[in-house]
C-alpha cells in the first residue's frame, strides 16, 4: 500500500508523501484524470487525517470545498480502488499552498462515518445533504436531518435504486391526509433547534421569513427567533427549489445534460456550462481551439456582468432604494440583446459544447460588444453616485454581517464574497483556465468583509469584466470553434457526408451521445457567485455515473445565522441581499 502512495507521489504531488509519513500504512492512493491527489482513508482515521490536513500539514487545507458521496454499487470500472458500496469524498483546498486533495472513505451499505463538523464547521450542511441523498449516517453530527427533500420523503434520491423518472413510480396522488401531514412537518418547532420560547424578561417571537417573501430571492425560508426586532437566532431552511439536478445527470447523455446546467445558477447562463464542458473535455482529453476558448470567456464575462448587475440592483432595492434596479435591468437588456444575437438565447443559451461552442460568432458581433463596453462605464459611474455613495445606504450596510477571511474559509465562502474580506484568491488568476492567463485584468478586493464590501467588490468586478470583454473584441483569434477530437459533440459536419466512416461516427455521437472514457475529474471555475465545480465520474458509458455539482450559494446560506445574530430584521435583509445567491444554485 505504501508503494501505491509513493507511486501517486511520483505521478502527481508531494503532499501525499507527507501524509504517507503520518498515516502511510492506512492510505491508498488513486490516480485521477484531474491530477488531484486522491487518498482512500479508513473511516476510523478520517477525523485524524482531516484534522492533520487542516492544522498541521505543511500546506494547511483551510477550505473544505466539497463533501458528498458516491453510490458505487453498480459501478463497473473502479480498478485499484478499495471495495466500497458508498464512498464519501471530501475535497479540501489549501489557498495558502495553492493545493487540492481529495479524501475518500469506503463504507458498506448502512455503515456510518464520523462527522467532521468539529474540524470543518461548513460540513454540517454537506453531511446533512449526503444523509438526505444517500442515507449515510454521520456519527456525532449535531442535527442530522433531511435538508433538501421534504421531511416525509421516502428513500434517498441519489441511491441507484431510487426512481429517477415519474414513469418509474406510481402516479402521484395528493390526498388530504398527505397534504396535512406534509404541512404539519413544515411547522417550525423552536425546541428542535435548541431554542427556548422565552428569555429572562421577554417572550421571543418566532417569525417565518419566507419561503414566499419579497426579499429572500426565491423560495428560501429563514425561521427567526426575535426579541422585538432583534434577531436572537436564525435557522435557514432550504430545499424548496430542489430539482435533483445531480440525479438528472445520471439519466442524460454527456451532451444532453448541458442545458440542465444552465438552470443551476439561473443568472449565470453559459457560465454554468463552462465548468461542466471543461470537465468533460478533461475526461475525454479534448483540446479546445483558441477561438472557442476566447468566445467562452467573452460570453461567460457577459453573464458575470449581467448577474452582478442584478445583484447590484436588488442590493440597493433591498435596502429600500427603488430606482437603481430598473436602470440595471435596462442595462441587462442591452447585454441580453448581444447574447441573443450571438447565441439565439437569452438567459439560458446552453451554448457551449463538448469540444467548443455551438457555432461561430455572427457578423457584427464586435460592434455590439464594443458599443456596450463604451456605454457601460458611464452608467456604472452614475450608479456609484446614486447607490454606493449614498449615506443612508452606507449606514444600512457598513459593519453589517461582517466576517473575516478565516471565518469565511471555515464556512466555505468563495469568490467575490471572500475577496471582500481582503483575500485576493481569484481562480481566473491563480489557476487560469480557458486562456484567462492571456487577459489583462485585476482582482478587486475590499477589506471590511461586510455587506457594503461585498457589493463594492462586485461593482469593481463589473469594470474588470468590461476590460476582459474589450480584450476579447480586440484580440479574437481566428480558427475553428470546435475541436477536431472524435468525442466533440456534435462532431464537425463538413466531412460527414463524404464517407461512411465519419457518417456513422456522427450518427452515433448525435443519437447515443459520446462515450467518455472512464475516470474521475473535477473542474472548478470562478462563477458569478463564487466557485462552482463539476465533479464527474465516467464509468465508460454515454451517461455520467455520478455528477456532483458544488455551488457557491449553498455554504453561504449556512453562514447566515452566524453573521446575522444580534442584528435587526432590516439588517438581515441587507445581509441576504449582499450574499448574492439564487435558490436554484443552492438547492440544485
Amino acid at each position: 500500500m505504501a508503494e501505491a502512495v509513493e507511486d501517486a507521489v511520483d505521478e502527481h504531488h508531494h503532499l501525499p508523501a507527507d501524509l504517507a509519513t503520518h498515516f502511510g500504512e492506512h492510505c491508498v492512493a488513486q490516480p485521477c484524470v484531474d491530477g488531484i491527489p486522491t487518498v482512500w482513508v479508513p473511516k476510523e482515521k478520517l477525523r485524524d487525517v482531516l484534522r492533520y490536513l487542516k492544522h498541521d500539514a505543511p500546506a494547511r487545507f483551510e477550505l473544505m470545498f466539497d463533501l458528498s458521496a458516491i453510490d458505487e454499487r453498480t459501478r463497473q470500472r473502479r480498478d485499484g480502488q478499495p471495495d466500497s458500496e458508498f464512498t464519501v469524498f471530501y475535497h479540501l483546498m489549501s489557498l495558502s499552498g495553492d493545493d487540492d486533495i481529495r479524501v475518500k472513505v469506503a463504507l458498506a451499505d448502512g455503515e456510518s462515518v464520523d462527522s467532521i463538523e468539529s474540524v470543518y464547521p461548513v460540513a454540517n450542511w454537506y453531511e446533512r445533504e449526503a444523509f438526505d441523498m444517500f442515507g449515510i449516517r454521520f456519527d456525532g453530527h449535531s442535527n442530522l436531518r433531511r435538508i433538501l427533500t421534504p421531511a416525509l420523503w421516502e428513500g434517498h434520491p441519489l441511491r441507484k435504486e431510487h426512481p429517477a423518472r415519474a414513469t418509474e413510480m406510481d402516479p402521484f396522488k395528493m390526498t388530504p391526509e398527505f397534504q396535512k401531514a406534509q404541512q404539519e412537518a413544515l411547522r417550525f418547532v423552536p425546541e428542535e433547534w435548541g431554542m427556548s420560547r422565552s428569555g429572562k424578561h421577554t417572550d421571543f417571537m418566532f417569525l417565518n421569513l419566507g419561503p414566499n417573501h419579497p426579499s429572500v430571492h426565491g423560495v428560501f425560508r429563514i425561521a427567526l427567533q426575535l426579541d422585538g426586532e432583534v434577531i436572537v437566532q436564525a435557522v435557514p431552511d432550504i430545499g424548496y427549489h430542489h430539482r435533483a439536478q445531480e440525479k438528472m445527470a445520471e439519466r442524460q447523455s454527456w451532451h444532453t445534460y448541458i442545458p440542465y446546467t444552465d438552470r443551476v445558477d439561473y443568472l449565470g447562463g453559459v457560465m454554468n456550462n463552462l465548468p461542466y464542458v471543461l470537465n468533460v473535455e478533461k475526461l475525454a482529453g479534448i483540446d479546445v481551439p483558441e477561438r472557442a476558448q476566447v468566445i467562452r470567456v467573452m460570453l461567460s464575462e457577459c453573464f458575470r456582468i449581467a448577474s452582478h448587475l442584478l445583484f447590484y440592483g436588488t442590493f440597493a432595492q433591498d435596502v429600500g432604494q427603488m430606482s437603481p434596479v430598473f436602470y440595471m435591468f435596462a442595462d441587462r437588456e442591452r447585454l441580453f440583446s448581444i447574447i441573443e444575437a450571438i447565441t439565439g438565447g437569452r438567459m439560458h443559451p446552453s451554448w457551449f459544447r463538448i469540444g467548443g461552442v455551438t457555432s461561430d460568432l455572427p457578423d457584427g458581433w464586435d460592434t455590439m460588444v464594443r458599443d456596450f463596453c463604451d456605454y457601460m462605464p458611464a452608467r456604472l459611474d452614475h450608479y456609484e453616485k446614486m447607490a454606493m455613495r449614498n449615506k443612508i445606504l452606507k449606514r444600512r450596510t457598513q459593519g453589517i454581517g461582517a466576517y473575516n477571511t478565516e471565518e469565511g474559509l471555515d464556512w466555505g465562502i468563495t469568490g467575490s464574497s471572500l475577496r471582500a474580506t481582503g483575500h485576493d484568491w481569484d481562480l481566473r488568476k491563480k489557476r487560469p483556465y480557458s486562456m484567462y492567463d492571456q487577459f489583462d485584468f485585476e482582482v478587486p478586493i475590499a477589506q471590511a468583509g461586510d455587506c457594503y464590501a461585498r457589493c463594492e467588490v462586485r461593482v469593481a468586478e463589473i469594470r474588470q469584466s468590461l476590460r476582459i470583454l474589450r480584450q476579447c473584441v480586440d484580440n479574437m483569434p481566428s480558427g475553428p470553434v470546435k475541436s477536431d477530437h472524435r468525442l466533440t459533440t456534435p462532431p464537425r459536419k463538413e466531412r460527414t457526408m463524404q464517407d461512411i466512416e465519419t457518417l456513422i461516427h456522427h450518427f452515433l455521437n448525435v443519437s447515443w451521445g459520446p462515450v467518455i472514457p472512464p475516470g474521475e475529474s473535477v473542474t472548478t471555475v470562478e462563477a458569478t457567485k463564487g466557485w462552482n465545480s463539476y465533479y464527474s465520474i465516467s464509468d465508460g458509458g454515454t451517461m455520467a455515473y455520478r455528477t456532483r455539482i458544488r455551488t457557491p450559494s449553498f455554504p453561504a446560506l449556512q453562514q447566515i445565522p452566524l453573521i446575522s445574530r444580534g442584528f435587526m430584521v432590516a439588517d438581515l435583509i441587507a445581509i441576504v441581499a449582499s450574499i448574492d445567491f439564487v435558490m436554484a444554485d443552492v438547492d440544485r
Partner: protein
C-alpha cells in the same frame, strides 16, 4: 333646549357611557379604544365650553400619544384568552362593590360642594395665548415642578432601558450551542 346645550349633553353622555365601557370590557384592546372615544368626547365638551386649546391638547396628547402607547404595550404583550378570563374574574361583585360604594360617597360629596356654586356656562372663549399666560404666570411653579417630574421619569426610563439592552446583548451572544449551523466548533 338650544343647540349649545345639545352640543354639550350629547358628547358628555358619550363620555360617561364609553368610560363605563372602558371599565367593564374584558378585552384590553377594546377597553382602550373606548377610552379613546371617551377622551374625544371630553375634548368636544371642552370645545363647547369654550376651551378649544384644551380640547386640541386633549386629542393630541391623551388620545394621540398616551393611549397609543398603552395600545402599543397591549399589542406587544399580545394578551390572549387567558387575560380575558382574568379580567372577567376581576369583574365579580366582591371585587368592585366596596370601591364602588366609596366612589359613590365621594361623588355625593362633590355634588354637594358644586351645588352651591353657579355653573359657568359656555360663552367665553379661552384663546391659546391666555392659556400660555396662565401657565407661565400664576402657575409657573406647577409647570416647573411638572418639568422636574418628567425629567426624573426620563432619566429613570433611560436607566431601565439601558439595563434591558445589556441583558439582551448577553442573550444574543450567549445562544449558539446546540443550534444548527451555530456550532462554534471551528471558530
Amino acid at each position: 333646549m338650544n343647540a349649545d346645550l345639545v352640543l354639550f349633553w350629547v358628547p358628555a353622555a358619550i363620555a360617561v357611557f364609553s368610560t363605563a365601557l372602558v371599565i367593564t370590557r374584558k378585552n384590553a384592546s377594546r377597553a382602550l379604544v373606548y377610552l379613546v372615544i371617551s377622551l374625544l368626547a371630553v375634548a368636544v365638551v371642552f370645545f363647547v365650553l369654550g376651551a378649544p386649546f384644551a380640547a386640541a391638547l386633549e386629542v393630541v396628547v391623551y388620545a394621540g400619544a398616551i393611549v397609543v402607547l398603552f395600545l402599543f404595550v397591549v399589542m406587544m404583550l399580545n394578551l390572549g384568552r387567558s387575560s380575558v378570563l382574568r379580567e372577567g374574574g376581576w369583574l365579580r361583585p366582591n371585587m368592585w362593590v366596596l370601591p364602588g360604594i366609596l366612589a359613590f360617597v365621594l361623588l355625593i360629596v362633590m355634588f354637594h360642594v358644586f351645588a352651591g356654586t353657579q355653573a359657568k356656562t359656555a360663552g367665553t372663549e379661552v384663546p391659546p395665548s391666555a392659556v400660555g399666560r396662565a401657565l407661565f404666570g400664576p402657575y409657573l411653579l406647577a409647570v416647573e415642578l411638572a418639568g422636574f417630574l418628567l425629567l426624573a421619569a426620563l432619566v429613570g426610563a433611560y436607566h431601565l432601558g439601558r439595563r434591558y439592552l445589556e441583558e439582551r446583548r448577553a442573550v444574543v451572544e450567549g445562544t449558539g450551542e446546540g443550534v444548527d449551523a451555530g456550532g462554534d466548533g471551528g471558530r
